[in-house]
């Protein structure tokens, strides 16, 4: 094993009641890679994210991040280790301003205590100022700084998707997990978003795991791709290999019809 292995998931699976939503998934990510996770609806992609990020504890197998076993860790602890995510169904803090959404994710960059905030000690002011400054930087990258005082729920849809990524980035991840970030966007917005993802990847030296329903889109930017179907990995490899894999074509055949 190389030392720059960031995620190593071995024989991971989860069961909800009688339903084995995901089984026997082996998945690894090297530092700096941009990897796609694709598969038809209900294949178990989001569930896999939920297991990696600590939202669900896997029923079987182990997941290690940066050499550390994630077993039993809560999502916030996983996040503090250097991983953050977006959600397929946007989960912004709707009644907070755009800026405050990012500040929440920036929570841990400042260290002032509750007492310091209540008594308004100097550390409160310096800490809050630092959070404000950094958060605005993140908003600028995504062109969201003009909306900073808007409530998140009032943003147009595409901007909400961007804010989710900005917020995830503010948590200072090494690994960013994006769950269908382009869902519901038109081709132009999707194109811009993909460029943006490529940009932040370079700028912040990120490793990215990207779920995308649309196979063609993933082919364009990912170096490697995992394909899930009915909870199991049916293929992995370069986009070229995936494109010509008969199992993948079969899994997607039923899909293309109703897409």
């Amino acid at each position: 094993m190389t030392s720059n292995l960031l995620i190593k998931a071995e024989n991971v699976g989860i069961q909800f009641g009688g339903l084995k939503a995901v089984q026997n998934v082996n998945l690894y990510l090297n530092q700096g890679e941009l990897v796609g996770l694709i598969g038809p609806n209900g294949a178990g992609k989001t569930t896999t994210f939920n297991m990696i990020t600590g939202v669900y504890q896997p029923t079987f197998g182990t997941i290690a991040f940066d050499g550390k076993n994630l077993k039993g860790l809560k999502p916030y602890q996983v996040t503090k280790l250097g991983m953050s995510r977006t959600f397929q169904n946007i989960r912004l803090f709707k009644d907070l301003s755009v800026l405050d959404n990012v500040k929440v994710a920036n929570h841990n960059i400042a260290k002032h205590s509750i007492i310091s905030s209540i008594l308004r000690l100097p550390s409160h002011f310096s800490g809050e100022a630092k959070m404000e400054q950094e958060s605005i930087e993140f908003l600028k990258i995504f062109g969201l700084d003009v909306y900073k005082d808007e409530l998140a729920k009032n943003l147009p849809y595409g901007m909400q998707r961007r804010l989710e990524i900005a917020r995830a980035l503010a948590a200072k991840p090494k690994l960013l997990l994006l769950d269908e970030p382009a869902a519901g966007m038109n081709p132009q917005e999707t194109h811009d978003l993909m460029e943006l993802i490529a940009f932040i990847r370079k700028e912040f030296n990120l490793t990215i795991l990207l779920i995308e329903h649309d196979m063609h889109l993933v082919m364009g930017i990912c170096e490697r791709i995992y394909v899930l179907d009915h909870g199991q990995l049916i293929a992995d490899g370069t986009p070229e290999e995936i494109r010509n894999n008969p199992k993948v074509i079969e899994a997607y055949l039923g899909e293309e019809v109703d897409d």
Partner: protein, 291 residues
């Protein structure tokens, strides 16, 4: 043989809790609402029975039926007027509304007739039967019989009738049920009607057994019946029965041991233990929030 007497007391109290708990559990199962006003429907049932017996001078069974019918109607009105438009509201909004309805019923009753208690008339002969050397009042036995009959009836409705099947379908998945052609609104109303009728019956039985009723009498039994429902596994009909009987027995034991002032605390301690240790209750299923 003192303890047999206590056992009978516990079962009688537990039967009343179980009858109220059924309404809580059915309503929670179908619309995920803690219907705080349910204890007050129980109180209204007791008063309806009281007026029916003392003013119209009718017997126990006719009074029981009248009370059940009127409570069913009241339950449906509450659902249609207050809860129906809250189906898509937050859980907090729904719960606060239920608290509001509960207070409204209590204080409207007090407004019209005052807060003073009422002594229930004696409608049943005060005889007792000797079993194993213990005198057991015929009222206790009647209560148990009525409770058992009502529960069998409920099982029959839920498992053998069309409306029962609709109720089970809606509580599993309201949207799917609607797609299958089930009238969800009517099914929910029917659930309220049945639950409220059982609470009405419990009210009359309570009055006959404990002989003292008052406008705030529903508050504590209501809460405890809810605890019984949680204990049994909220949404589960057998759970409500077992939960109600268990709670009645526990309270009787606590009193019998000389801690009657702590009796009410026992129920809440049970509640907190069950919520912390196994929130799904003894008959409930664990579910996880989908993310």
């Amino acid at each position: 043989m003192e303890w047999i007497q206590q056992l009978v007391n516990g079962i009688s109290l537990g039967s009343i809790y179980a009858l109220i708990a059924l309404g809580y559990t059915m309503v929670y199962g179908i619309i995920k609402l803690i219907n705080f006003a349910h204890g007050d429907v129980f109180m209204l049932g007791a008063f309806i029975g009281f007026y029916a017996i003392s003013r119209w001078e009718i017997g126990f069974f006719p009074a029981l039926i009248i009370s059940m019918v009127l409570c069913a109607i009241i339950g449906v009105i509450i659902e249609r007027v207050a809860y129906k438009r809250l189906r898509s509201a937050t859980r907090i909004a729904a719960l606060i509304t239920a608290i509001g309805v509960s207070l409204l019923i209590e204080y409207t009753v007090i407004f019209f007739r005052g807060a003073s208690p009422e002594a229930y008339p004696e409608v049943l002969p005060k005889s007792s039967i000797n079993i194993l050397g213990v005198n057991i009042s015929s009222i206790s036995i009647l209560i148990l019989a009525v409770t058992i009959v009502l529960m069998i009836l409920l099982q029959f409705i839920v498992h053998k009738t069309k409306i029962g099947k609709a109720m089970r379908a809606v509580s599993l998945d309201a949207d799917a049920a609607r797609l299958m052609g089930i009238n969800v609104d009517n099914t929910i109303s029917a659930t309220f009607a049945i639950g409220s009728a059982l609470a009405g019956a419990a009210g009359v039985i309570f009055g006959v057994y404990y002989t003292r009723i008052e406008p705030l009498m529903g508050v504590l039994p209501g809460l405890k019946a809810f605890i019984a429902a949680v204990f049994g596994g909220i949404g589960s009909i057998p759970g409500a029965m077992v939960g109600g009987l268990s709670l009645g027995l526990v309270e009787t034991v606590v009193s019998a041991l000389g801690f009657s002032l702590w009796r009410d605390a026992a129920a809440f301690v049970i509640l907190i233990l069950i919520l912390i240790l196994k929130p799904s209750g003894i008959f409930g299923k664990n579910t996880r929030e989908k993310v």
